[in-house]
């Protein structure tokens, strides 16, 4: 089939032009900004500082603690999301009558969106806990982080459950039957047969949650709003506050570029691992 250049342009250019304006150009402008010091006011001159913004990051205590917090948060949340999601998937793929209904209920939080979920749980951790005499979790730095992990788990467990269900359904019925004929217990079938066969889904989910948790922003804004005293501020929110609250446009943009590099590395490692796995299968 011959397609003329004219038709190629008609079909692709509208999208590619919008895409270039919205994503590609700002990305390169952003790299440029990260070498300047600028307060965001059009009238004020931006000053070239070279690599200084990237070096300043190393001495920025607020940023480094936000960074460490983000890593700890991400590790714990990834484990809890996947563990819970996997248990949910195992439960709703049984022959229980309520399996489909439970699947629908457990998945629901994912659709509501991080911002609103954060507000819903703010009511739980502050008002309900106060009324029970437990005390407000969101005014304590450690408990606020625990709250962040709980809400993120609540949001994403149902999501990874869906991926795990797809993986579990793909395991041939005969394999499971054969193992039970051979006298394997539920636990043996699970650890020796189903989990190894589920490895591709587990890899997908681990990385999906890894980059999603690392980038978390909405729940942070609505649940704790970086408080108390910035002690629950995570990476994304730190970038936002640096640029739009502190008006350090150049410095904040340097953090944004570092953020991009980390996310890109996580994703590229994921892609190389998952594509290798597919070859093996």
């Amino acid at each position: 089939m011959k397609i003329s250049k004219k038709w190629f342009a008609v079909f692709t250019l509208p999208l590619m032009i919008i895409f270039t304006i919205v994503v590609v150009i700002p990305f390169f402008i952003g790299i440029g900004y990260s070498f300047f010091e600028w307060d965001g006011f059009a009238k004020h001159q931006a000053v070239w500082v070279g690599m200084q913004n990237y070096l300043d990051v190393l001495r920025d205590d607020r940023f480094i603690s936000a960074e460490i917090r983000t890593v700890i948060f991400t590790v714990i949340a990834v484990v809890s999301v996947n563990l819970l999601g996997l248990i949910f998937a195992l439960l709703v793929t049984t022959k229980m009558k309520v399996a489909n209904l439970s699947r629908a209920m457990l998945f629901m939080p994912y659709l509501i969106g991080g911002l609103i979920l954060g507000y819903i749980w703010k009511a739980v951790f502050s008002e309900w806990f106060l009324s029970l005499g437990i005390g407000n979790w969101l005014t304590d730095a450690k408990k606020a982080m625990a709250a962040m992990i709980i809400v993120t788990t609540w949001q994403m467990a149902g999501y990874v459950m869906i991926v795990y269900i797809t993986g579990l359904m793909a395991i041939p019925e005969e394999v499971i039957e054969a193992s039970s004929v051979d006298g394997a217990s539920y636990w043996q079938t699970l650890t020796k047969i189903r989990l190894p066969l589920l490895m591709p889904s587990i890899t997908i989910c681990l990385f999906l949650t890894l980059s999603n948790c690392f980038k978390v922003y909405d729940v942070n804004v609505s649940l704790t709003g970086s408080g108390p005293a910035n002690q629950s501020e995570l990476f994304s929110l730190n970038i936002f506050n640096e640029i739009f609250e502190q008006n350090n446009f150049g410095y904040g943009q340097a953090k944004a570029i570092i953020f991009f590099l980390i996310v890109a590395i996580i994703t590229l490692v994921q892609v190389s691992i998952t594509s290798k796995k597919e070859v093996e299968m």
Binding site: F19, G30, K122, D218
Partner: protein
């Protein structure tokens, strides 16, 4: 009798667990009817009386119907355009093999790595600049926001469409060309109707994303009449005292459209999310 009983127990336990799991949603619902003092007596209790008082004030404070209209327009038009433009681009890239096609595809896929926070500031600068130069309202407007969502949605959508189009044989399209269809007709009459399953996946993933998105609209929308639903809801949770009954009524009306959407399209949503996660 005994075996029947044994079958019922896990079902009851599972249901009980799911209900406990969704308790926070029940909590905002029941407290949206209560006065402040009644709420703190027992937040898990049912309200002593049903009053729509807090709903009325919440709806008017958040300008609910205007926000709902904005969110609907934003979501529907953005997704409509993402589907149309991305499927056209993906088809061309898949069928017209060459350097330009390869470059477009790798550019679209590579930029899926860029987190929004990395380009939010320069994007806002650029949009303000375009607005000043051309007079087009790029900032603080729904059309401007739609423009940006097309750009951000392009990568994922082209990737999914391209993956599917590569698996369908070209012969039907060639036959249509011989029958006298031009390229435009081939795409809309032959190709596009075959993309239904991918189109549904793209729609589902983008509805969840755009309807709930907060950061991008919070950066551009300033005027009250332009607010989307998440932005309006966020105004109840300022720094100082929160009027919880109104705030919870606002949360209930905010998640209601999502629940309705879920009830009607559950099958598609679950399939779409699974497909998106595995391929993305």
């Amino acid at each position: 009798m005994n075996s029947k009983f044994k079958k019922i127990i896990p079902n009851i336990l599972m249901m009980a667990f799911c209900l406990v799991y969704l308790l926070p949603i029940y909590m905002i619902f029941t407290n949206s009817f209560k006065s402040r003092s009644e709420m703190y007596e027992n937040m898990m209790a049912l309200p002593s009386r049903l009053t729509l008082e807090y709903y009325q004030s919440a709806l008017s404070k958040m300008n609910f119907w205007v926000s709902l209209r904005n969110s609907l327009l934003l979501t529907v038009i953005s997704i409509g355009l993402i589907v149309i433009l991305s499927s056209m681009t993906a088809w061309m890239i898949a069928r017209y093999k060459g350097k330009v096609s390869r470059f477009f595809l790798s550019l679209l896929i590579a930029t899926m790595l860029i987190p929004f926070q990395t380009i939010m500031m320069p994007l806002m600068q650029e949009m303000t600049w375009i607005e000043k130069r051309t007079g087009l309202t790029m900032t603080d407007s729904i059309p401007g926001l739609i423009f940006m969502y097309i750009g951000f949605g392009a990568g994922m959508a082209v990737f999914l469409f391209h993956g599917f189009i590569s698996t369908i044989p070209i012969s039907l399209e060639e036959a249509a060309t011989i029958d006298g269809c031009n390229t435009w007709q081939v795409f809309w009459k032959i190709v596009f109707p075959n993309l239904k399953s991918t189109t549904i996946t793209v729609i589902i993933l983008d509805v969840i994303w755009i309807w709930n998105d907060y950061l991008l609209p919070s950066l551009t929308l300033k005027a009250k009449e332009n607010r989307t639903i998440p932005i309006s809801a966020s105004k109840f949770f300022g720094q100082y005292t929160i009027s919880w009954n109104e705030a919870m009524a606002a949360l209930v009306v905010t998640i209601l459209p999502v629940i309705v959407f879920y009830l009607f399209c559950q099958k598609y949503i679950v399939k779409g999310v699974a497909a998106g996660a595995v391929k993305g």
